[in-house]
Subunit: 351 residues, 3 copies
């Protein structure tokens, strides 16, 4: 069903995107067309990655998911960075973190909790993730913020590059730890029965879809980025609000849907893995890649968020840890996360 | 015993309050008379609420306790708000949070721990409360603080109203979760034997006592509020110190006593429920009600504490969570909480 | 082996220190000589303390370890304080906290984890320590920082003295709790078999070694402190960097080595006790002693760190708690702590 809708969205959206951008249609309308097209393309990228991951086996598959999982957001951000929109990029990173931790996890726990009184997931993973959330979102983002207050811009950027390299190295180490060195060690026996999955598409078909969708996302993203300033002006939104709410949701919509679906099927390990794992991917892989990529553009991007962005991410991490650390959820815990997301949404809207 | 003392205190204190305020006696003496009278009246309100709660059964009873539990503080604060004493009101909210988390829980754990080596309480409740403490005291109080730095006063107040509405809704959801949807689900079998309690007073007598005591508390509170500035000047205290130490202790004295008594009887579930539950009530119900109530007064109150207030509450929450999260206490953990309270007391005194 | 190297280092380093300081040799060379000599002397002090602790039995022995464990750092800091180098002293306290929590624990977990897949230690101790870390490093260090922003220097110092007294009292209470009131209560049966240890040295020999080494450390430290400004200038380091990296490592080198050795032998209880216990000793005993000692010097030292110092310590504590709170470690958790140490090292170097 969803797949068919996405197919139709691409069939209509992609030509419209090309024509509209050539004919200079109203940016507000094109903004909507671009967003919807990207959502649909992201769905195809996700399915292609999933198929490839199954074909490639658990280790390489895990690596594939870990690198292509946030590809759409990475692509949009790189085009925004090329345009010098550092504020939008940092805001969309923030939006991804908040969206995954509060909106996706919140909806998953809430909707899953309406059906099941108590939902359980692997407590070892939860604790492993807690440590990484504190490392990446709190420690690695707070240090440049505070140190930069007593540094010049060049040193701040040097520090940001250093932190980015360490974040990526630790991200790779975490993959090695999870996929190789300690694979299956922290699983309960019951969880170990890995379901034998059939890939939706064969290797070559998946590769071609992935490649084509990536190119298309790139094309649309470049156009999307150029509509930001006019849309912002038209609706009275700040660049931060566009980054935090719009870009973050567009880039992650497909993923969000599947997390909620998994929670509804009581597969909480997967739902949590999508929500928290995706956050870690943004903080430990997408964000540092963008900092390093900015070396090749005119405007350099330090890892220094605005105070509201940073504090929102920090409090979101503490709330998520308090709620997930016991390996159990219910509808009320989901509601608490959603309430936090709404509070921050109001805050960023009013900024 | 205590009941008889409270009876005598009211018998003497109430007439003195009326006469003293009409005859314009020394505000410092009247300040003491008002405080003691309120402490005694609060004891009666607590007993009346307790009786009504037993008569009404666990669900409505839980709701009654959750709304009338901090009625005295709410009443004092509303009269202070009417006088425009926003600083005192925010300080007394802070004082309630610190007093409950550090002083009441600290004394309970310490005194209970002198008698019992290890005291145990429901670990599910502890974790549930941890999540709510992080949500209400940290997230919901920090966001307006940080965002307001880049907002005008009107937007800050709008944000405060938004957060207040969400806090109250989540508080109601938490009650529904606890009293209806997940009632008894997280209890050990051993705890489930609910003691059949006899109400101290019948329904009507309790209602009349509650009504009369509430009116009396209102009358005395209005007079009490007018003595603040003179007392502050006389003793060289700041308004913040009066709010944090005096109002918070007066408004909660009766409750404090019963928490410590419960710990001494090794009923730790009840002691923790009073200390932490009362904190949540202040943060998720009393504080937002006051923000919304300020719409009807001349001076509007945003949810923006001073930095020392906010940081004290945040560190108190982290310390409480670290200490209670394992569902076990001892005298040393009580001592740690008390040490934290003393440090903050010195700090606010010197401010 | 190590003992023999230390013996030779003292045999050469001590005369060189005396001659060099009398003949006014190059401060940079003497800085290195002093540092190495102190490292070796600290090794002797540690062995003497250990022997005395065994002779004295577990209670007095625990007290001995708790007071002499960070004696070297205390001595260096007192001479630095005498010279008015408050910045260096606060930085070296920060460096000790970061070094113990991130470098020592990180190396221990990493190296131990290369040999063992999962290493386990007492989860009760871990939680007990979590509470104390939050109390001492977060609450007791953040309160003076925030309150001092709205206070004059005299009040800030008064608050610092008050907090210092409370920290020392709570430290003594923690010793009493651990060595007397709750001794052995939180241990698993398996851990209770205390190995019967033979002291390396007899009582008198240990006492003489301890006394002689302490006097020698004092002499060398006084000279060391005078080289700081020239070394800082020569290498372009800030005083903070010297304090955080150099003084902290020199003062704790011997201890660091034994923590890693213990982890390699899978004695994780001891490794964690050294890393975290030493941090608590610095925060709850060394730091407050120095604040109080500054009463007797020209320059008074308040407990107010720089923002980068404070935030580094806070994030280090949160990371350590997230990683140790489950009573289990592996190489990846060690790597995470080391990554955090490197990030902060870069930050302080660039400051």
């Amino acid at each position: 069903m969803v797949n068919r809708i996405f197919f139709i969205m691409i069939l209509i959206g992609l030509p419209l995107s090309v024509i509209g951008s050539l004919m200079h249609w109203s940016p507000v309308i094109m903004f909507i067309v671009y967003c919807l097209t990207i959502v649909a393309l992201a769905g195809y990228m996700g399915r292609a990655t999933e198929s490839l991951a199954i074909v490639a086996g658990p280790r390489v598959g895990g690596l594939l998911n870990a690198t292509f999982g946030n590809a759409v957001e990475l692509i949009i951000s790189i085009f925004a960075l090329k345009e010098g929109l550092v504020t939008v990029v940092l805001a969309s990173l923030t939006g991804s973190v908040l969206g995954n931790l509060l909106l996706v996890a919140g909806l998953s726990f809430f909707i899953g909790g309406l059906k099941y009184k108590r939902q359980i997931f692997n407590v070892f993973d939860a604790r492993h993730n807690s440590g990484l959330l504190i490392f990446s979102v709190i420690l690695a983002f707070v240090i440049p913020e505070v140190f930069s207050m007593e540094m010049n811009d060049a040193d701040t950027f040097t520090l940001s590059i250093g932190i980015s390299v360490i974040l990526i190295l630790l991200y790779l180490a975490a993959l090695f730890f999870k996929l190789v060195s300690h694979r299956g060690i922290y699983q309960h026996e019951a969880d170990k029965v890995e379901e034998h999955e059939e890939p939706e598409w064969g290797k070559w078909r998946a590769l071609i879809v992935l490649l084509a969708a990536t190119v298309a996302v790139g094309y649309v993203s470049e156009n999307l980025v150029h509509t930001f300033d006019i849309v912002a002006e038209k609706f009275g939104w700040s660049e931060i609000f566009i980054g935090i709410i719009i870009v973050a949701i567009v880039g992650n919509a497909a993923e969000h849907a599947s997390a909620i679906l998994m929670a509804y099927k009581n597969k909480m390990n997967i739902a949590v893995e999508i929500a928290v794992g995706s956050t870690l991917q943004v903080a430990m892989f997408v964000a540092p890649i963008l900092v390093i990529a900015s070396l090749f553009f005119d405007t350099r991007m330090s890892l220094v968020f605005t105070m509201p962005e940073l504090i929102s991410m920090i409090t979101a991490v503490f709330l998520t840890i308090a709620i997930t650390n016991d390996g159990e959820t219910n509808w009320f815990e989901g509601g608490t996360l959603l309430a936090a997301y709404i509070i921050m949404g109001i805050g960023f809207y009013l900024l």
